[in-house]
């Protein structure tokens, strides 16, 4: 018995979500009285792997293969399942992000392991194994019991935080013998916006809605985001109108996010929008209409015109530094 945590890297680097995953699984393994094995796939330098020791990763198995630098879900699932079999792991955990969503379901099928996704805290009970997850896009929670001997879960961002627990790290290399025929997808190009804070990872998000009145008014949103080191986002009508790209749409059918601080500027707060932001730690609403539903879910509110309030706020943030 052991717990496997799949630590995804991005160009050889780990992120806060990886540290949260290691903290979570370290705690889970202790509660299950079993060993934690952290698995890394793709080229990652030893120093970077060792950084996971700060959060309690004693044993790391690294598949340091450049062929696997790009996510191919079929290949990653095969590697992790193989390791789980060799190590007799019965609980496999990964972050609920684009790679976890692609790999975990495949492992579930491969190992006939029941799966729960976007789990919000440590299991509610270990025996039977019951976890709590969000359903109806944040409008409710469900307790799901996994009955199979092997269990696969993905954990939601900001569900646990990271807890320092420095340990000595042992690193083992693993070379799976994979069938080349598995690599049936080929990445032709990659485009990245390097100057912008990535919405899914952002600790602070400045989001704006139709209350901005025109796409030409977005300068004040970007300035506040810049002052805060925040990512920008928008409501659905704004992305539907083409004022902003759909990758910025936050809400039930767009991105569901959980930053520490979320600014909703000129967003009325439709139920579908709230579903996408309800796990934010702190919500600030700015709206001309004091009756706007967004104030019902916000922690702090300002009644006023976004075009006047946002520049003042930017100035206040800059002055406070």
């Amino acid at each position: 018995m052991s717990v496997i945590a799949f630590a995804k890297n991005w160009n050889g680097k780990f992120k806060n979500s990886t540290f949260e995953l290691v903290s979570y699984t370290r705690n889970l393994a202790s509660q299950l009285n079993t060993q934690l094995i952290v698995v890394s796939i793709g080229e990652v330098k030893e120093e970077e792997l060792k950084s996971l020791g700060k959060y309690g990763a004693e044993r790391i198995i690294s598949v340091n293969d450049p062929q696997m630098n790009t996510l191919t879900s079929r290949v990653y699932a095969q590697v992790i399942s193989k390791l789980a079999e060799i190590e007799g792991a019965d609980t496999i955990v990964m972050s609920d992000n684009e790679s976890g969503k692609a790999i975990a379901p495949r492992i579930s099928v491969k190992m006939k392991a029941g799966m729960a996704s976007a789990v919000l805290e440590l299991p509610v009970s270990m025996n039977p194994f019951v976890v709590k997850k969000g359903v109806f896009s944040g409008k409710a929670f469900e307790h799901v019991q996994i009955d199979s001997p092997v269990k696969v879960i993905t954990i939601a961002k900001n569900c646990f935080g990271f807890i320092e627990n420095q340990v000595d790290v042992s690193i083992e290399e693993f070379s799976p013998n994979l069938d080349a025929a598995l690599f049936k997808i080929q990445v032709l190009e990659e485009e990245k916006q390097t100057n912008k804070v990535n919405l899914a990872d952002a600790d602070i998000v400045v989001s704006a809605g139709r209350g901005m009145r025109s796409p030409d008014n977005w300068g004040v949103v970007e300035e506040l985001a810049d002052a805060l080191g925040a990512a920008t986002a928008c409501s659905r009508p704004v992305s539907d109108e083409g004022w902003r790209g759909h990758e910025e749409h936050v809400g039930q059918t767009g991105k569901v996010i959980a930053p520490n601080l979320y600014f909703a500027a000129g967003i009325s707060g439709a139920i579908q929008h709230v579903a996408g932001i309800s796990r934010s730690k702190c919500i600030v609403a700015i709206n001309t209409d004091p009756e706007a539903p967004i104030f019902g879910v916000a922690d702090y509110g300002i009644v006023g015109d976004v075009m006047e309030v946002l520049p003042k706020l930017t100035e206040a943030v800059r002055n406070s530094k």
């Binding site: 409008k139 019991q145 009955d147 997808i185 485009e191 990245k192 039930q252 702190c282 922690d299 702090y300």
Partner: protein
């Protein structure tokens, strides 16, 4: 070429969620049911690919796991333009079960491309598409925001943190799609609604499968405390509160 779109039947996104029987069951009284928004976009894109004369798509069908009460949703998919609808007659217990049922059908009736929405807006499992790919031993691409055909290859864009990747994939393939895949969902026209009545909606018996998970109970989120209002003339107070009270700055 044949495209199969997986359809989930979900409560309208404006639904106020309630539970019954000691919070163990979703209370569906008064609920309006719709095609899961991402599945609707996937169907729209599949139809666009079929209509493009440069492609050789000769069938776009939809598949769904559910009881007879979900037929209205499948008729809507037919009205939007799907050629055939298949309903596997079973309760959609969990993602593993749904994917297993669809895979069992696919093994007997192969399709070249399977589209699945990134998640369903009810149980948010985000896993049916990737599970079908694994059951079928197909390639899969997830977080897909664009799909085009190039002969027997598929060219897709996949969202990655802060950007996107252009990917070439071989058939057969499962594409798990998200927003961006089609501009907006197609609305059925009167002619489509009339034609949908004559299109085949085939009901298929479920395959025997073991259950791996079960739902224990539901909870509603706790009510949030009152919103603290700050005067628009004193926004510096907000910055102060975010720093010292909420401790998020």
């Amino acid at each position: 070429m044949k495209i199969l779109v997986c359809i989930s039947n979900v409560p309208d996104t404006t639904t106020k969620v309630k539970f019954k029987e000691d919070s163990t069951l979703f209370d569906d009284s008064g609920v309006q049911w719709i095609i899961n928004p991402w599945d609707e976009l996937a169907l729209t894109r599949a139809l666009e690919l079929k209509e493009d004369a440069g492609n050789s798509v000769d069938e776009v069908s939809v598949i769904h796991v559910g009881g007879a009460q979900t037929d209205a949703t499948l008729r809507k998919a037919l009205a939007i333009g799907a050629d055939k609808a298949f309903r596997i007659d079973a309760c959609a217990a969990d993602a593993y079960y749904v994917a297993g049922q669809i895979a069992a059908y696919l093994k007997e009736n192969p399709f070249d491309i399977v589209f699945s929405g990134i998640e369903s807006s009810d149980y948010n499992g985000s896993s049916v598409g990737a599970m079908i790919a694994e059951f079928m031993d197909y390639s899969g691409v997830s977080s897909v925001t664009s799909v085009n055909l190039d002969g027997d290859d598929v060219i897709l864009y996949r969202a990655i943190p802060g950007g996107k990747q252009k990917i070439k994939a071989e058939l057969p393939l499962v594409a798990v799609v998200q927003k961006g895949i089609a501009k907006e969902p197609r609305i059925p026209a009167m002619r489509g609604i009339m034609m949908a009545r004559k299109k085949p909606l085939e009901v298929i018996a479920a395959t025997e499968m073991e259950m791996l998970t079960r739902s224990v109970k539901f909870e509603l989120p706790k009510a949030k405390g009152a919103c603290k209002m700050i005067d628009a003339g004193h926004v510096e107070q907000l910055v102060e509160l975010l720093k010292n009270e909420a401790k998020v700055l």
